[in-house]
């Protein structure tokens, strides 16, 4: 069937559930297919950190034709990863989420121009953007800076950019950016807009979210998952090569069209984005100022109708 025609991102289930009767079953859905972006969770599972917390964790990757949030909203998993702004958007749409672990401390979102221009000067340009969320920051930027980008939602891949069908694309510094380099695209720094470096736009992204109801059913269980996941990331930071081996096993099992070089570069960038710009430490916390700034930007850009408070995202 043609819906399976998904650019080699086909298989869904990864990770072998460790069925232990005495342990709580916990289903975790990262927001994308297997890659180094989720190395900390793979490591926590492989190193037995979840098991030590009494959790029987299953990691389930979504299909590219499905939005990841559909899993948690549909009650098919216990926790998922979401960028902060996407979480705010879902909350604005009525969902109730709590952040049980924040991994990203900086924005990895970038805009890459195909025409060798500064994206800030490409008024009205045709810009590729993911159809399934994660593009809120770029949309806010376009609105706030009056750039009136002509957004082209797309499912995945950088093929439209390479084929010259779009003028620029929203990308992640740890993913699509490296894909374009690997495709032989020469990207000058003047063609890259990094929100991380822009005053007022450095909004932390990936965190682990649960529905409020799911959290309240067993807060201790959620905290154990968060604690073990954090240990997993800390272990990855200390053992990047071994972590890469684990990532590649997941990549192979998932038949993901990638390679070790790309995953190595991704892991290094993801770990870099986990360091707080002020302290230089891996803090694993949601910053109230960033939540406030994200809420203000989104509300000001019409992406959400009401502001979302930092406290409303916190379990307690």
């Amino acid at each position: 069937m043609r819906f399976l025609r998904i650019l080699s991102l086909a298989l869904v289930l990864l990770g072998v559930p460790k069925v232990l009767s005495a342990q709580d079953r916990f289903v975790f859905v990262p927001q994308w297919t297997a890659q180094a972006q989720f190395a900390g969770y793979y490591a926590a599972l492989e190193q037995g950190f979840y098991q030590e917390e009494g959790l029987d964790v299953t990691i389930l990757h979504p299909r590219s034709s499905q939005t990841p949030d559909s899993y948690i909203l549909g009650g098919r998993c216990d926790a998922t990863t979401l960028p902060l702004m996407q979480a705010l958007e879902l909350i604005d749409h009525g969902a109730q989420f709590v952040n049980i672990l924040q991994t990203s401390m900086n924005s990895g979102t970038i805009i890459i121009s195909r025409l060798g221009k500064d994206p800030r000067e490409q008024h009205g340009a045709r810009i590729g953007i993911w159809r399934a969320g994660h593009g809120q920051l770029a949309r806010c930027f376009s609105y706030q800076e009056r750039l009136d980008y002509n957004w082209v939602p797309l499912a995945t891949s950088v093929n439209l950019f390479i084929a010259g069908a779009i003028d620029a694309t929203v990308a992640m510094s740890y993913n699509e950016y490296f894909h374009l380099l690997q495709a032989g695209v020469t990207i000058g720094e003047e063609s890259v807009l990094r929100f991380e470096d822009m005053m007022g736009y450095n909004i932390q992204e990936e965190g682990v979210y649960m529905t409020l109801a799911g959290y309240r059913r067993n807060p201790a269980r959620a905290e154990r998952f968060a604690r073990a996941s954090r240990r997993g990331w800390e272990w990855v930071a200390e053992h990047p090569d071994e972590a890469l081996d684990i990532v590649m096993r997941y990549v192979e099992d998932g038949h993901v069209a990638t390679n070790r070089v790309m995953q190595k570069m991704m892991l290094a960038e993801v770990l870099r984005l986990q360091l707080d710009s002020a302290s230089g430490e891996r803090e694993f916390r949601l910053r109230p100022d960033m939540v406030e700034q994200a809420s203000r930007l989104m509300q000001g850009s019409g992406l959400i109708r009401r502001s979302v408070q930092f406290n409303s995202l916190m379990p307690r």
């Binding site: 069937m1 950088v158 093929n159 084929a163 032989g184």
Partner: protein
């Protein structure tokens, strides 16, 4: 190493052979080098031609099949426009396309959201093959929002037909996966609104299989990359769609790979020499037109140049062996040719040690070596003869030298050499010295006492050596015989002159000063026969005595010699000498001279006859400073002391 160098230096055969072989090797090197370069270029051109042909054929076949797909899509195009108001007809169109085109694996006509109001948001008429049948379905849904897919967006955004980047199609139900690409066309309504995209899918399994079989050389292989550099065909299937040609350049720069990748992506054709996994390879590449893909054939250099390299090794081996053989034969021939010369060297070495009787090697050769041998033979004969003569003349000379030595002793014995000559006479201070210029000289002096009178003479014979010494001996004897009481110096001179002049065929002559001093009165009678004037030292001041020169003895038989006299010479030191004194020459041929004679005599007061003579001899010796004496030197100093 030094020993080898020394051995080569000392061997003409080795040096000559090395020169010949080196020069020959140089010529071979130039000729073979040129041949190898040209041959290599030819092999390279042939490889390029061959690979180019293979690539052309491959691309032609690929284009042929892809053209079928584009034609099928183009033929469907107008039917879609014709049925734009009938969504159901779209299923028939897609089904028919598959039925009429066995190479096509799927076809869809997909429309913009809500294009057909009755169909809702999604409408995509899709036909596909399953178990040998062609099935159709409407595939758009909330789970498969096709209008975000590349195959839908590309023709829409580019507003022109295009090929998608190949992707892996996976059919879970049939457990099948394969590389698929789609030819897509934009569909617009009559008013220009975008209606949807037409997509015709074609499996690339045949393409992978066909390109993989392209092997112009045993170890060559083919690759194909897509528009984004991803490997679509590669012998290492783990790289398919997972790596691009640039992946390995991300961690460590590989400019030649990057340059190749960019050239392929630009749609260029060409060839690059690239090192892959430590081995040199030639990569020939050519674009698959319109798709943006590029096919490359990687040919290991050792495959392309394998036969050439083998031939080169064989030729080089033959040349090296030939040069070594040439060196060996050259060395042998030259060495054999130089054998007589080597024997000649040995023999001449023996001859040089004094073994003149050693015979030289016999030769009949007419070349330079033969001539050299004969010349050496003649030289040896001459040398032997010369040495024999030299030996005889040396023996003769030694004999004459011995005789001369005896003659000198006899001559010196003829003149009085005991001083003081008259120890009992305290009124007479007399000293004499004679130094012949050769073994025997022509000077003479003599003196004796007779009846209280001192007879003395000093003379110089013309010519030195034996003739002079013989005349000197004769004259001295004549002086002794003729000098008798009552005979004046002039008569003595006349008689000696007559005797010497008679039968003087040799025309020899002699100067002589003859004197007679009466020791009682101090009167001195004298006759000068052409001799140097004596020096008188009066009151410490030396002066030459004025006298008649007369003529030397032996010149004129009838010459009348006359006496002269000084009344009293007592207390006056007198010096008699031969011209060996005042005409003594130094190295610059300057003469001692009369002035210097007087100067030396006047330097200090008279002490004794012996001191005066020795002072003069010393002064002359110092003056000549090692120059060979040209004349005999005789000095006679007399002082009559008043009692």
């Amino acid at each position: 190493m030094k020993a080898l160098y020394d051995k080569i230096r000392s061997s003409l055969s080795a040096r000559l052979s090395i020169w010949v072989v080196s020069f020959t090797a140089l010529i071979f090197l130039a000729a073979l080098g040129y041949m190898f370069i040209e041959s290599r270029q030819a092999v390279r051109r042939e490889a390029m031609r061959r690979a180019g042909q293979v690539l052309d054929n491959t691309v032609l076949r690929v284009n042929g099949i892809l053209d079928d797909v584009t034609i099928a899509a183009d033929n469907l195009d107008w039917l879609v426009y014709r049925n734009m108001d009938n969504s159901e007809a779209m299923f028939d169109l897609t089904r028919n396309l598959l039925l009429n085109n066995p190479d096509v694996s799927g076809c869809s006509i997909s429309f913009e959201p809500d294009f057909f109001k009755e169909r809702g948001q999604y409408f995509s008429a899709y036909a596909y093959r399953k178990d040998g049948s062609v099935l159709t379905e409407q595939e758009g849904s909330d789970r498969y929002q096709y209008f975000y897919m590349d195959w839908y967006l590309l023709p829409k955004l580019l507003n022109q037909p295009c090929w998608t980047e190949p992707y892996l199609d996976i059919d879970v139900e049939q457990d099948w996966s394969g590389l698929v690409t789609s030819y897509c066309k934009p569909l617009t309504t009559l008013d220009g609104t975008y209606a949807g995209s037409l997509s015709v899918d074609v499996s690339l399994s045949w393409l992978s299989e066909m390109i993989s079989k392209v092997k112009p050389y045993e170890n060559s292989y083919s690759v194909m990359i897509g528009r984004g550099g991803a490997y679509l065909v590669h012998p290492d299937t783990t790289k398919l769609l997972r790596q691009t040609i640039f992946t390995e350049t991300l961690e460590s720069p590989k400019p030649e790979i990057s340059e190749l990748g960019h050239a392929m992506l630009r749609g260029e054709s060409g060839m690059r020499q690239i090192r892959i996994d430590g081995k040199d390879n030639y990569v020939f590449f050519e674009p698959v037109t319109e798709t943006g893909w590029s096919v490359a054939i990687v040919c290991p250099e050792r495959d392309i140049f394998g036969s050439f390299n083998r031939l080169r090794r064989i030729i080089l081996g033959i040349v090296v062996a030939g040069l070594l053989l040439m060196f060996f034969f050259c060395f042998r021939v030259v060495s054999h040719g130089l054998d007589p010369l080597r024997r000649l060297v040995r023999q001449t070495h023996l001859i040089s040690t004094g073994r003149f009787d050693e015979s030289l090697p016999a030769t009949t050769r007419m070349d330079e070596i033969g001539q050299l041998t004969r010349s050496f033979g003649e030289m040896q004969t001459s040398l032997v003869s010369y040495i024999a003569e030299l030996t005889a003349s040396t023996a003769n000379r030694e004999r004459i030298q011995g005789e001369l030595r005896i003659a000198r002793e006899i001559q010196m014995a003829m003149v009085p050499r005991v001083f003081p000559p008259f120890p009992e006479r305290h009124d007479l201070d007399l000293y004499a010295a004679m130094t012949p210029a050769k073994e025997v000289g022509g000077d003479l002096y003599d003196y004796f006492l007779l009846n209280e009178k001192l007879y003395f003479c000093i003379g110089d014979v013309s010519g030195k050596g034996i003739p002079g010494s013989l005349l000197m001996a004769v004259s001295r004897n004549l002086f002794r015989v003729v000098a008798r009481p009552g005979i004046t110096p002039a008569r003595i001179a006349r008689q000696i002159n007559e005797t010497v002049s008679a039968e003087n065929e040799q025309m020899m002559f002699m100067t002589m000063f003859i004197g007679r001093i009466d020791l009682k009165t101090g009167r001195m009678d004298y006759c000068n026969c052409g001799h140097n004037p004596p020096v008188l030292i009066e009151d410490g001041k030396p002066r030459f005595l004025d006298l008649k020169p007369n003529t030397p003895l032996g010149v004129c038989e009838d010459w009348v010699f006359e006496d002269e006299h000084i009344a009293d010479v007592r207390g006056l030191p007198m010096l008699f000498y031969t011209d060996g004194l005042n005409e003594a020459e130094n190295l610059t041929h300057a003469q001692f001279g009369n002035d210097r004679l007087l100067e030396v005599l006047g330097q200090s007061p008279f002490v004794s006859a012996q001191e005066t003579v020795e002072r003069l001899v010393h002064a002359v010796t110092a003056f000549v400073d090692g120059a060979e004496a040209s004349d005999d030197l005789t000095l006679l100093c007399i002082k009559i002391k008043p009692l």
